[in-house]
């Protein structure tokens, strides 16, 4: 079980701050949360980076979701 935290922009859609996640791959995890919050579809979620325990991953498609990890969607940063 990992815990996903929503930032306040996503919270407007999910109306909750955090949920427990059963999946252990990114792909299952996206399916899992879209099942719970269908309105997240189209929220740009898939364009966001995923932070797993503080490590920001811009292209998380193939990552595993470790047990007991903390997950955050983060806006992608580019820089100058």
């Amino acid at each position: 079980m990992a815990t996903l935290f929503f930032n306040s922009e996503l919270e407007k859609i999910t109306e909750c701050r955090q949920i427990s996640i059963k999946s252990n791959t990114y792909r299952d995890f996206i399916e899992e949360i879209l099942n719970i919050f269908p309105d997240l579809q189209g929220s740009g979620l898939m364009e966001m980076a995923l932070a797993i325990d503080g490590e920001i991953i811009h292209e998380p498609l193939l990552v595993a979701i470790p047990d007991n990890s903390e997950l955050h969607f983060v806006f992608k940063i580019s820089g100058g």
């Binding site: 306040s8 922009e9 325990d53 503080g54 811009h58 983060v74 806006f75 940063i77 820089g79």
Partner: protein, 751 residues
Amino acid sequence: MSEAKQYKYIGQRTIRPDGFDKVTGRANYGADLSLPGMLWGKVLRSPYAHALITKLDTSRAEAHPDVLAVAGFEDFPSVNAEAFAAGNGDSGMLDLARNILADKKVLYHGHAIVAVAARTEEAAAQALQLIDVEYEVLPPVMSIEQAIKEDAAVLHEDMFTQGLADTPSAPSNIASRMELKKGDVAAGFAQADIIVEREFSTPTVHQGYIEPHATTVRFDDNGPSMVWCPTQGHFDVRASTARLLNMELGQIKVVASEIGGGFGGKTTVYLEPVALVLSRKAGRPVKMVMSRDEVFRASGPASASKSRIKIGAKSDGTLTAVEASLYYEAGAFKGSPMAPGCMTVFTPYDVENMWVEGFDVVVNKAKAAAYRAPGAPQAEFAAEMVMNELAEKLAMDPIDLRLLNAAKAGTQTLYGPKLKEVGLVQCLQAAKTSEQYQTVLASGEGRGVAAGFWFNIGGQSSVIINMNSDGTGTILEGSPDIGGSRASMQMMAAEELGIPLDRLNPIVTDTEHVAYNATTGGSRTTFATGMAVVEACQDVVAQLKSRAASMWNVTSEQVDWQDGSAINLAGEDVMTLAEICAAAEKTGGQISGRGNINARGAGPSFAVHLCDVWVDRDTGKTDVVRYTAIQDAGKAIHPGYVEGQFQGGAAQGIGWALNEEYIYDDNGIMENAGFLDYRVPLASDLPSIDTIIVEVPNAFHPFGVRGVGETGIIPPLAAVGTAVSDAIGLPIETLPCSPPRVLKLLQEAAK
């Protein structure tokens, strides 16, 4: 990662491999390439800040005997407004197209309208005079205040504010709003013994790279077309150009020339797609070079900002709540760095209750481009000014106040995740014991301290290392070298392979010789491309070991690699890299190593700057008398170029704080579009800039590297602003602290 690791090259001040060419004038920059039969392209630009184009007739220019081609917005075939309106496109591409050649409406003074290519520069300039354009002039919207007024002229009829609770019914100049929150700020402020709240503004500034944008292109029907240009990312130039011209990536080869500074401003395209259209139409190579005036008017300024900051603290200095409203000017098209501004503004501090809102606002100025840690300097300037005011009101040392609240490993950021190991506390401690902080101020002097935070990024990098039969090797990389990165690639590879530096030649290749590399930006190059170099070296070493194994008739597992040699664990034999390469012909051909990665785990870099100034009360002129930049590099591969990044960032931040600003007249026309009137710091304006490199390793990088390029521009704004405020005894809310503005503050206070 073992702290005690002794390196042979990492951490040394080596001579950069591209140095000889750069000190002798042999290195070729953007404007240095000419091709046989080449034409010169020039751009007709808008004389108004905001207008509809009611008539555009290029026939007289086309009839000019020396003119061979004319290009306009309709030459971007894949980008047409209807497709985008129907939702089948990427609105970013449409904006990009409209920015580089206007579509029926001009949105800033200097906005490109059409381009011509002619046999000589003079003929091209004459042809521009022959283009007939009529305009319906609209009121210019030149500031955030003007833009957000209910009755403001609207730049884009199809822009409706995103991110509001209710979908708006009328178009607006506010492209979007975002909000981040954590905890309960109302409760936090209720617990505070003291609250400081203040509003700030920062001006439009330019990255100010000394080399203007330039390109030379050759369209080719039968093979890849060639684009030569100075850019931070030639793979992204290729991608944008291909999208705009409906070409395949493989039909365009972009060669990155040497680049004369970018700082974020050379991460987009202005001339390249236009030049390629002209070249295609004319059937000849085309060269285009912006004048300095065009660079100021029509390329990447950094966003002006307005902000409001509120910070509450206990009487012992513990922060209880922080709050910010941040407005950024995007220029003519949406997309200011408002989001990174919101995400960075309070990140140096561990506070339970935080609330930030940001607005992306369009105005009739050139489309803002990235500038070193985009969005962060404006936001953190405001927050750090309030932190210093708070320290003063609490009679606390400003470094102690920051140490008490400093973010560290485990701090929950406002933008989401908890921080990993970071070096803010170490930077603050180093600042406190620094020579400058121990120096007692002379009369009339003032001091400012400020911290800065930037994320840094990783991303895609591809590297190939080709070994030669004499044991020399070529490192092919795709990250343009703006500040000495070839040196760090060479050092990391030499370290990893265990061979001398001069055996390895790092080359920044064009888009055909390595796979995609993300743009040099986000302080990513030494981190991410460095990781790709290490991976390519490991690939080389694995092959060297297996070749040695086959020579010794043992398995690869029985071969160890140490200091540039293979060691037979089953016997006594040792073979050097050069010996294995010499025998490679017999063991399967020469060796290439490859590292293609999408690097993750970039380590944030914190900085703390100290600034002492003296203000001339008669003229309002500020002299920076002492300056120290302290920053966490993770690990400094080449300390000289790391210090250079700190110093360069500090100098740009000092310019932003003291002098630099776009000045517009009532019609929205920039009045200071040249280096004489837009004054960047000169050698005589600055003191020596002391540096302290803090090294808290980034566990995700093989050598512990964090990016260092961007953070250094963040702290100077508030360090200088606070120092000036301290010297004159008056609050500073508006940058720059230029002599007239400071003089006015002094005179008003005297009344």
